[in-house]
């Protein structure tokens, strides 16, 4: 069996990737799930894992080469294949490639915007069937925080990620910026989409919003997945919140952003520039100040919804080295608790495979 390994597409905006380093060499055996090469995009660097086991027979993309999504990177052969057979597969792939890349671009999933309660909300709707899963990002984030999770999770069911008010490409004007306003936006979107009941997954502040939704509308929440979640204890890194909210240039923004990740090298200038692009939008500065004042004023979490956990099936995931909200908040909650060693606050990005596995396993057993 001759398999083609192609440039992956991580998230909506990725159109090309640069081959950073080959972790396997031509002739090496690879196991399914093993990391074969590192690819860098304008957003993030990550490893490409082998979707199949076999022998890496041809390495076709050079180190430092930038290739479009879907381009041929390597040939992995499971069992036997002659060089001529491999050549034929490569030739057929390359002949068909240009059109398929253009097609993917034209028909690929794209985020939509709706007006809900007088405010624009952006959401990305992937997958079909089952009780839908809604992904709620954290403070200062957007639906791209689920870049590495959303496609994998949507293999099993319909999965919707949204930009909360004041975030991403949703409307920036807030009334008060309290948890009620953020929760109402999620409920408004569900009503707009005629969805009664959902699994909720929230990261950080999105976890707090999810907990509040479980409080407001318990009948609509099938389960709760809380990742590095707010709302489970009083501590939060006030210096981070202040630094992030006030930063208006690259040098001021870098120290707070580094605290989010276990690998500081992820915070490159492109990530900083992308974050600044968000922070420069009219209304964002005020929205962030309103929200952080309402939820985390004085560098403490002002809202405790810990007693909401346990009413629905729950999964709590935390990075052991989270520098924003301590992993100790996971202790003693009535849920399946998974602490990922060495991981930081953005655990769903940095340990995407593991988080996806945990979430898929958890959601699979829900009625």
């Amino acid at each position: 069996m001759i398999h083609t390994l192609t440039m992956p597409k991580w998230g909506l905006s990725m159109t090309e990737g640069r081959v950073d380093v080959w972790l396997k060499q031509q002739g090496d055996s690879v196991e399914k799930g093993e990391e074969v090469l590192d690819v860098e995009t304008d957003k993030i660097s990550s490893s490409v894992e082998a979707p199949f086991s076999g022998v890496l027979r041809r390495v076709l993309a050079q180190t430092d080469e930038t290739l479009p999504v879907g381009a041929l990177l390597a040939i992995v052969v499971e069992g036997e294949a002659s060089e001529a057979e491999i050549d034929a597969v490569i030739e057929a792939f390359q002949a068909g490639f240009v059109s398929s890349a253009a097609e993917a671009e034209a028909s690929g999933p794209s985020a939509q915007k709706v007006e809900v309660g007088g405010r624009l909300l952006r959401y990305l709707d992937l997958g079909e069937g089952g009780t839908p899963l809604v992904l709620v990002h954290g403070f200062g984030g957007d639906l791209n925080n689920w870049l590495f999770n959303h496609p994998a999770l949507s293999a099993q069911r319909r999965v919707i990620a949204l930009d909360l008010p004041g975030h991403g490409e949703s409307g920036k004007h807030l009334q008060t910026g309290d948890v009620q306003e953020l929760s109402d936006a999620v409920l408004g979107l569900l009503d707009h989409l005629n969805i009664d009941r959902v699994h909720l997954a929230g990261h950080s502040m999105g976890g707090l919003v999810s907990l509040n939704l479980a409080r407001l509308a318990p009948q609509r929440v099938a389960s709760l997945t809380l990742i590095a979640s707010a709302g489970l204890g009083p501590e939060i890194n006030g210096d981070y919140l202040q630094g992030f909210t006030e930063a208006s240039n690259r040098n001021a923004l870098k120290p707070p952003l580094i605290q989010l990740f276990s690998d500081p090298a992820l915070v490159n200038r492109q990530m900083l520039e992308d974050m600044l692009k968000f922070k420069r939008l009219e209304g964002v500065d005020q929205a962030l100040r309103q929200i952080s004042g309402q939820l985390f004023g004085g560098g403490r979490q002002l809202i405790d919804l810990r007693n909401m956990v346990g009413q629905q099936p729950g999964l709590v995931i935390w990075g052991s080295d989270d520098a924003i909200i301590p992993a100790s908040h996971a202790q003693g909650v009535e849920a399946q608790v998974e602490i990922l060693p060495g991981q930081g606050h953005m655990v769903q990005l940095e340990a995407a495979e593991r988080v996806n596995e945990l979430m898929l396993g958890f959601l699979k057993i829900q009625p």
């Binding site: 920036k172 208006s248 420069r280 939008l281």
Partner: protein
Amino acid sequence: MARKISYQQAINEALAQEMRRDQSVFIIGQDVSGGTGAPGEQDAWGGVLGVTKGLYPEFPDRVLDAPLSEVGYVGMAVGAATRGMRPVCELMFVDFIGCCLDQLLNQAAKFRYMFGGKTTTPLVVRAMYGAGLRAAAQHSQMLTSMWTHIPGLKVVCPATPYDAKGMLIQAIRDNDPVIFLEHKMLYSLQGEVPEELYTVPFGEANFVREGNDVTLVTYGRMVHVAMEAAANLARQGIDCEVLDLRTTSPLDEDSILESVEKTGRLVVIDESNPRCSIAADISALVAQRAFSFLRAPIEMVTAPHTPVPFSDALEDLYIPNAAKIEAAVLKIADKRNAA
């Protein structure tokens, strides 16, 4: 994915959104509406390359066609700015600076200083600049160093649609006179641009590519040429950092020095003529402030000291290209003295 529009559309959108937001913003220039009061004005062309197209029908009182007298309408805009308006004045080609130099050099740039801060001049002068359009010597110059030389003026040279919109909005809201330079060869460049209002601050360079071996500093159209060179050099194992200055005044000295301190090698790329140029200025800055970090001589890649030729072949030869940048980098890349 954010919406993609062209550099030209980004400028048009910034003007429209700021005019909707602020009644004191108005546009004045030659042909900006395509003949105010003339038949057919509703779908008029909108400037020599159509950048202001569609604005006149929406803002008929605030898009003013001026007679062929830069000294007159630029002077008028300077005066209006001192009285609380926010004029966006279009000089068409930056080459016409000579026809209104006193208004900008001796008036607009000096008011805040000479009146002890009691007067501000929130004026934007938009102008096309740069070579490549086969428009000959009188319509192809850069002249960035002339503007940058004058204290009291801010000089903005966006390289992308994103920067074009955000920096034009910043320019309109800025209380000092801003020279906003639009490279003609970038007008059709597509890029992601938020639909919302946003500002890109002045004096903050953009690291468009991170690298460890050589720093390429440039601005405007040359950012894209430098990126092309950097991609070619990466295949040869040379890792370039590319810095887009975005504004030449104020100049982000810190980012230039920060990068050179890391790489130890500098190539400055400037489409302008070399004497007293941005390239020369940055070279001097680095020689003065980061000399001990340099591991090789500084290289400059610029146009030659001649007017822009009209001949296609000569114009192509005149404009710095990726091959010239690559040659400059290769010249200094293997020098490891005094490390």
